[in-house]
């Protein structure tokens, strides 16, 4: 049952020959095909591949929104049956609750039965994340007054507040401008340095994957299979300077080649489909 022990941290998540098909008018559509890999405690895994390839579907299975058609997704050895507060999810569209103020958003999870804490402790936690995420001045504001970057910081604060062991992020910075995006990446590294989580990041940015992750899973055009798993040779903490390192450049061109290859494969796939109907 357990992984071959090579020492190191324990395996927390295991994708075991996972495949997933959707029903479609033209018959079953295979989105994920025979994917197997492990995520260990404290790993930062980035999943990268052409858009629409099924990366998000992989994350949805780990989040508990979708079940595999065959194979198993195991969390600490048990098949996942639904979402849970130990797996915090950050969505590209933020999903901050517009009817709650910033501090009420952060407190939301702490008022649920699953992770209820006494009011005093709750205020303490809210204050801490308002502070860490630089949102203290906006505690009483509604999200309509926040910029995109601030909304994403709020979403991260809200996820962190319930103390998840995992952070699942689906292109979390994709909608942000370049400067904000880079700030958010650094903020994420900072907060992970303070409170370590096991992370799965879905991204289409090669640079983002290398800068943030400890391991990069390159997946193929649909159906998503594993093309290659690449270990990132940089430790933590990291800073912008690693962008200038020669290993960074080598890794970037290697992964970019893989991704471009799959992108072309996807274009070829897409062509006949777009003409039929």
């Amino acid at each position: 049952m357990s992984a071959p022990v090579v020492g190191g941290p324990p395996v927390r998540v295991r994708f075991e020959n996972v495949s997933l098909e959707f029903g479609s008018p033209r018959g079953p559509l295979r989105v994920v095909e025979d994917v197997s890999y492990d995520i260990r405690e404290g790993d930062f895994v980035a999943v990268i591949g052409p858009s629409g390839c099924g990366k998000t579907t992989m994350m949805n299975m780990l989040a508990g929104f979708q079940a595999p058609t065959s194979g198993r997704v195991l969390l600490d050895g048990t098949p996942i049956s639904g979402p849970g507060p130990e797996r915090g999810v950050i969505f590209q569209e933020y999903g901050v609750f517009p009817w709650l103020t910033v501090e009420e958003n952060i407190a939301f999870g702490l008022k649920l039965r699953a992770n209820r804490v006494p009011a005093g402790e709750r205020r303490e936690i809210v204050r801490r994340y308002l502070d860490l995420m630089g949102l203290s001045a906006f505690a009483q504001a509604y999200p309509k007054h926040l910029s995109g970057g601030m909304r994403q910081r709020l979403a991260i604060a809200r996820a962190y507040a319930v103390k998840p062991q995992f952070l699942l992020m689906d292109e979390p910075f994709g909608a942000l401008d370049a400067q904000t995006r880079s700030n958010m990446q650094n903020l994420l590294l900072d907060i992970l340095a303070v409170e370590r989580k096991t992370v799965m990041l879905i991204t289409h940015s090669v640079e983002e994957a290398i800068y943030l992750a400890s391991r990069i899973v390159v997946v193929t055009a649909r159906p998503a299979r594993i093309r290659e798993i690449v270990d990132v040779p940089f430790g933590y903490p990291r800073d912008e300077a690693i962008h200038e390192r020669p290993e960074f450049g080598e890794l970037r061109s290697h992964i970019r080649d893989l991704v471009m290859d799959e992108y072309r494969a996807q274009q070829d796939q897409a062509r006949p489909v777009s003409f039929s109907d």
Partner: protein, 255 residues
């Protein structure tokens, strides 16, 4: 101070324009003057009705009918509209039926209402409830169907149980639609009021208008119409006030 005057001016301007147009229609002779009572005579008649004919009672009776019609109609429309909006199968089943009944003008149903409910108060209320219900169901179901499923997902990843998702996510997202349903139902109800008071009503603004039409009392008809418009306007303003307080979070320019 200048700002206040400006605002009063802006509010008053369209009404003054309507008054001017009213006098203009009379003076230009476009319409036979006997058929257009001038505003000052209508105002005189208004005071007369108020002091000697119990206009206030007519207003109260009609307002009460509209109020009950909207309250009952929307109270039924909220759960039904919610179910139709939330569950796709319910929507597929109910949509054609709802649209069938919604398209029927309440006035066409009056003979049937008389047969089944008689000619007393319940008959009038049934017509208003009918009108409010279908207006409310449409607004509710359309609104709820557009609920962003992302918020439900987020709540579940934070550990919310199905009951908590309902109480803490779906209910707050539904409140704006309930308020819109109330406003739409209120408008439809006032529009239906005259029809509902066709059913042997002794009092009420609709009854007053109909009795006046029997004796060709144009000024009374004008008073009745203006009263309906004003009461409907005040009720809508009150609801908008209420919405503004409940929905400060909504992303609307100027909010």
């Amino acid at each position: 101070m200048a700002g206040l005057l400006r605002r009063i001016g802006l509010v008053a301007a369209p009404w003054l324009a309507i008054l001017a147009a009213w006098y203009a229609v009379r003076w230009t002779g476009l319409v036979n003057a006997a058929l257009v009572p001038p505003p000052h005579l209508v105002a005189e008649r208004f005071v007369d009705l108020l002091l000697t004919k119990g206009l206030l009672q007519d207003i109260a009776v009609s307002t009460r009918r509209v109020f009950i019609g909207v309250a009952v109609g929307v109270a039924l429309a909220v759960p039904v509209g919610f179910l139709i909006g939330w569950f796709r199968t319910a929507r597929a089943l109910a949509d054609p039926v709802i649209n069938f009944f919604r398209a029927l003008p309440p006035i066409a149903l009056i003979p049937l209402v008389i047969v089944y409910f008689g000619v007393d108060e319940p008959a009038k209320l049934v017509i208003l409830i009918y009108a409010s219900f279908f207006a409310g169901v449409i607004v509710m179901s359309e609104g709820v169907a557009q609920t962003n499923p992302l918020f439900v997902r987020v709540a579940r990843t934070l550990g919310a149980s199905p009951g908590e998702v309902f109480g803490k996510v779906i209910v707050p997202l539904t409140v704006p639609h309930i308020l819109t349903a109330l406003r739409v139902a209120l408008g439809v109800s006032w529009a239906t009021l005259v029809a509902s008071e066709l059913v042997a009503a002794q009092r009420g603004l609709g009854a007053m208008i109909q009795n006046a039409s029997t004796y060709f009392l144009l000024d009374v008809i004008y008073v009745g119409i203006i009263c309906i418009g004003l009461v409907a306007l005040f009720m809508d303003m009150a609801l908008r006030r209420l919405s503004g307080r409940f929905l400060a979070w909504q992303d609307r320019s100027g909010a």
